[in-house]
């Protein structure tokens, strides 16, 4: 099997503080893998282990089948990395920073970096200290992509980027994957990655909750129906309706997930006084969360 990143029962604790617990993960060659979770869930911990910036408490990480600890130089030669908390040499210009890293990487020419910078409309000759957050993020992206790495590890890559630049970034990610290279990117929200990722994983409180393809998530798409009643109907009033699931209940407001026809729900509503009704296609975030909640109930 061609896993680019293979994580097996990875546990990382910082003293008594949890980083990640018993985490398994496989990222395949040529895919765009979205690594999702709220802030503090353990995304950065996983990523920093892949790059050998921190070492596992237990468990194993392999990148290209290599050990990032013992064969780190070889691993990092083939990886491009964008840290979540990007810190750059403030006194250098982007061009100087790229020249520095390019020579550490043994790159002969700076042209690929310059082309990327042009693509992101990044000014190359102003001191980094004088750059805006978005422009710094561009510097981070350019240094991650410039050597054409087989694997890109990008921690919250779109943070600080304006929407137009985000689009340019997604295009670059797509091209990278189409060229057979692999992109592992993290985000704290699904919409950021759903258009670009092939598969997504959700991590929460240090544990992996769910891994699924975006395609599969789309297949689970449902209509989200929010209904405000004059009087909250009794619990279980809509149980057993085909394709209808009660997602949440806040006083007189009930939220349903409806797969397939909405008719059975509409017929059942006829017995109650409805104040307001709103319905829309659920985004993948909702799908994701409903699957995640289902998983949680199974576990409980």
């Amino acid at each position: 099997m061609s896993s680019v990143v293979h994580v097996e029962r990875l546990t990382k604790s910082y003293g008594s503080v949890r980083g990640v617990v018993d985490l398994d993960l496989d990222v395949q060659t040529g895919e765009v893998f979205g690594y999702l979770g709220p802030n503090g869930a353990g995304k950065t911990t996983t990523i920093r282990t892949i790059l050998d910036l921190i070492r596992p408490t237990s468990g194993r990480v392999a990148v290209f089948g290599l050990d990032p600890r013992r064969e780190g130089v070889e691993v990092r030669r083939r990886v491009g990395y964008l840290p979540g908390d990007l810190r750059l040499y403030e006194q250098l210009t982007p061009r100087e920073l790229m020249r520095y890293f390019a020579s550490l990487r043994g790159m002969r020419a700076l042209d690929p970096a310059i082309r990327l910078a042009e693509r992101f409309e990044l000014e190359l000759d102003r001191r980094i200290a004088a750059l805006s957050r978005g422009n710094r993020q561009k510097v981070g992206l350019v240094q991650a992509f410039m050597h054409g790495p087989e694997l890109l590890v990008l921690d919250e890559p779109t943070s600080g980027l304006d929407p137009l630049v985000q689009q340019a970034f997604y295009e670059l990610v797509r091209e990278t994957a189409d060229a057979g290279r692999t992109v592992f990117l993290s985000s704290h929200v699904l919409p950021e990655v759903q258009h670009v990722a092939d598969r997504v994983a959700l991590v929460r409180e240090g544990r992996l909750v769910l891994v699924d393809s975006v395609e599969n998530l789309r297949a689970h798409a449902f209509t989200r129906v929010e209904i405000t009643f004059a009087e909250p109907p009794p619990r279980g009033a809509f149980a057993g309706l085909p394709g209808v699931k009660e997602l949440e209940r806040r006083g007189p407001l009930l939220v349903f997930a409806v797969e397939g026809e909405i008719d059975p729900l509409v017929k059942a509503l006829a017995c109650y006084r409805v104040v307001a009704l709103d319905s829309h296609e659920a985004d993948l975030e909702d799908v994701f969360l409903s699957l995640y909640r289902a998983g949680e109930q199974h576990a409980a």
């Binding site: 130089v73 810190r87 890293f101 990487r105």
Partner: protein, 268 residues
């Protein structure tokens, strides 16, 4: 300058380096220019010899306390305190910045995700530190050479070089210790503070040892003893003392990558 970690580090310190050289040259110029009035005033020696014993250990550099001879004057005024003080401040600062400083500012994270081993990062940072201090030593020696000629202060170029080399070795040893502490803990303030405290303790032990019997056995553990013991301004260097200073630097240099390699890099 941006081809290696070594040259990048030197590039980063070029401004500080300039000010340090200015400081050293200024110090030498000031001290040497006062010498003619000291030389013609033999009674100064009597004054100095009346210093309390507790002070003499700190005022002399290696040999006998003799304020009026060229070697005695340079020893007391420059090499007993001011030169090692300046070089150590520069060295410990650079040692603390080398890894811990870059880790605290967060740039080490990105540097280490390049295809370079931590061992190599440590080695190049140590090399940069050594080059910087040797550079300061060369400037110091040149200033002394010119200054001594100008006022006819009779210490040979070789003996000036011996004292300078001894001071540079002392500074490299403490710089390497600061780099080691920074590599092990990742805190610049701790690296600088701890190393400076060690240096002050070693300085005091060496200065007081002739007076306090309890300290005498500790004296040979003090790098400051080995820095001065051969009386470099009169007798040049001695292999044994140079060897001790070198050994301290080498041990710190060997331990630094080991300590650094074992550790998680801190997040900022």
């Amino acid at each position: 300058m941006l081809h290696r970690i070594l040259t990048k580090t030197l590039r980063d310190t070029r401004r500080a380096f300039f000010w340090w050289t200015l400081g050293l040259v200024g110090l030498v110029a000031l001290m040497v220019s006062v010498y003619p009035s000291v030389r013609d005033n033999a009674s100064l020696n009597k004054l100095v010899n009346d210093y309390p014993e507790a002070l003499k250990g700190f005022v002399a550099f290696g040999g006998e306390l003799d304020y009026v001879s060229g070697a005695g004057y340079l020893g007391s005024e420059l090499f007993a305190l001011m030169v090692p003080l300046l070089l150590l401040v520069a060295a410990i600062g650079a040692g603390g910045r080398a890894l811990a400083g870059e880790e605290e500012s967060g740039t080490l994270e990105l540097l280490l995700t390049n295809p370079v081993s931590r061992r190599r990062v440590v080695a190049e940072k140590l090399a940069a530190l050594t080059i910087e201090l040797v550079g300061l030593g060369v400037v110091l020696w040149a200033a002394l050479l010119v200054g001594c000629r100008a006022v006819d202060l009779k210490v040979s170029g070789a003996h000036l070089a011996a004292a300078t080399i001894s001071a540079v070795l002392l500074a490299v040893a403490y710089g390497a210790i600061a780099l080691l502490v920074g590599a092990a803990f990742g805190h610049r303030a701790r690296a600088v503070g701890l190393t400076a405290a060690l240096a002050v303790a070693a300085y005091v032990v060496n200065g007081l040892a002739p007076l306090v019997d309890a300290l005498e056995p500790l004296r040979k553990l003090s790098p400051f003893y080995h820095y001065a013991a051969s009386d470099p301004l009169r007798h040049g260097l001695a292999v044994g003392h140079v060897g001790v200073l070198l050994a301290i630097a080498v041990v710190a240099a060997v331990l630094a990558p080991i300590a650094f390699d074992r550790r998680d890099l801190a997040t900022t």
